[in-house]
């Protein structure tokens, strides 16, 4: 009997994270994505050197949000 099978990937829950990077010391901070975030947007002050960080990446991964 001719038949075909669905190849749709199983639904996996993704959490989207924002990476803030300090352009001076290179320190990276990972936090959950907030609406309004975009790559190159200014982030919080660097916890290591106090300079202005910048959002370098926004990505989704199958992980629990950081505590």
């Amino acid at each position: 009997m001719i038949s075909s099978r669905s190849v749709v990937e199983k639904k996996v829950k993704y959490t989207v994270f924002t990476i803030e990077e300090c352009p001076v010391c290179g320190q990276k901070t990972k936090r959950e994505f907030q609406p309004g975030d975009y790559v190159t947007k200014d982030g919080a002050k660097c916890t290591k050197c106090g300079n202005q960080t910048r959002i370098s990446l926004i990505y989704a991964e199958t992980a629990k949000p950081p505590k």
Binding site: M1, I2, S3, S4, R5, S6, V7, V8, E9, Y14, V16, F33, P35, G36, D37, Y38, V39, T40, K41, R54, L57, I58, Y59, A60, E61
Partner: protein
């Protein structure tokens, strides 16, 4: 021996003979009615798929209306306009005489894009360009799902009406791929609404790294240029204007840089997402030559034409991903490929050009959530 067996023996038959006759009848009946049975199975399977497609297209339509009402703050109820737009048709130019067809396609597609933006502008106004661009993308996703559903339903009903075995079996075989594509589109809706970068935006992410902090100028519709330097080379970096959900007009932009600004690049390097083959890993990087750009073909044609005219080599850097990954939130594997792409890109610049040269870098793809 049971009562039935005794009765059958009395009329000269035993159970084995009965089973033999019945199986013979089933075999003959299957031989005669096999296509009808197949049609029945095919109709069932397509019917189930069609129901899924209907759920998906209704979800996309509802999400679009909700977005226009809540985030877009539409002045009235946008339902009627959205429903009208779902059936909006783009008639492609005649291709009997293919001479000059790219220009005609460009004209039709540009008119369509302007019409979409105008329509969205009428509903949500032009207060926030990100909201307008996201609304455009949501409308396009809802329209695509509506079209997929209508086409599948057309062949399903036609096959049912004519009991066309071959039509139904072909559709049945295609259903998993159709559902996969529809599923990708409906998953994209949530990403669009949150304005998160898409997997397709990896080219834009790379370009933005060369553009950040530099002066930007608009060189084509929704397309910006910034100039930077790398090891004695002057880099002309082109990408769609973010963080809006734009793909821009890189073809027009590159032609503008070369023919109107008079830049003579030694190389054009294009970075884009590419559909992976089954078995390939997400985030794998491939290097090659040629215009790395998808779409209907207009931009690709424009880039190839200007590069061939001025004898400029085109190099491509591709990041592999599936269709679902390309139009949903950028996966970690794709994002993490960005550092490797930068290393590769810098190597290509160093190997293929020399100090004092101009290099044109184009980050291709939807730039939602990626500014510059």
């Amino acid at each position: 021996m049971s009562g039935i067996g005794v009765s059958l023996l009395q009329i000269g038959l035993d159970l084995n003979s009965i089973f033999y006759v019945v199986s013979l009848l089933v075999f003959v009946a299957y031989g005669l009615y096999a296509p009808r049975i197949q049609v029945w199975f095919a109709l069932n399977e397509i019917g189930r798929g069609l129901t899924r497609l209907k759920v998906m297209k209704d979800k996309a339509r509802k999400e679009t209306i909700d977005y226009l009402t809540t985030t877009g703050k539409a002045s009235g109820d946008p339902t009627e306009r959205v429903d009208q737009f779902l059936d909006y048709i783009t008639i492609m130019p005649v291709d009997i005489d293919p001479n000059g067809i790219v220009g005609k396609i460009d004209h039709v597609v540009t008119t369509r894009d302007e019409r979409v933006r105008q329509e969205v502008g009428t509903i949500v106004g032009d207060k926030n360009p990100v909201t307008v661009s996201v609304s455009e993308n949501l409308l396009e996703a809802a329209t695509a799902l509506n079209t997929i559903h209508k086409i599948v339903r057309h062949f399903y009903l036609l096959g049912k009406k004519t009991s066309s075995y071959f039509m139904l079996v072909q559709l049945q075989m295609l259903m998993p791929m159709i559902i996969q594509e529809a599923d990708a589109l409906v998953s994209a809706v949530d990403t669009f609404k949150l304005a998160q970068p898409l997997g397709d935006g990896i080219g834009a992410v790379i370009a933005s790294r060369y553009m950040v902090g530099r002066e930007k100028q608009t060189i084509a519709k929704d397309t910006v240029l910034a100039v930077n330097e790398y090891k004695g080379r002057k880099l002309y970096v082109v990408k769609a204007e973010g963080p809006m959900a734009y793909v821009g007009q890189p073809g027009v932009g590159i032609r503008h840089v070369i023919e109107e600004m008079g830049v003579k690049p030694s190389a054009i390097i294009m970075i884009d997402a590419a559909l992976k083959l089954e078995g390939e890993k997400t985030g794998e990087i491939a290097e090659g030559v040629g215009a790395a750009i998808g779409g209907i073909g207009v931009e690709k044609y424009q880039i190839e034409e200007v590069a061939a005219k001025h004898k400029i080599p085109i190099y491509a850097v591709l990041v592999k991903q599936s269709i679902l990954e390309a139009i949903t939130a950028m996966r970690k594997e794709i994002a993490e490929a960005s550092d490797k792409v930068m290393t590769l890109l810098n190597r290509v610049i160093e190997e293929k050009t020399k100090e004092g040269d101009d290099v044109l870098i184009a980050g291709i793809g939807n730039t939602l959530g990626v500014s510059q």
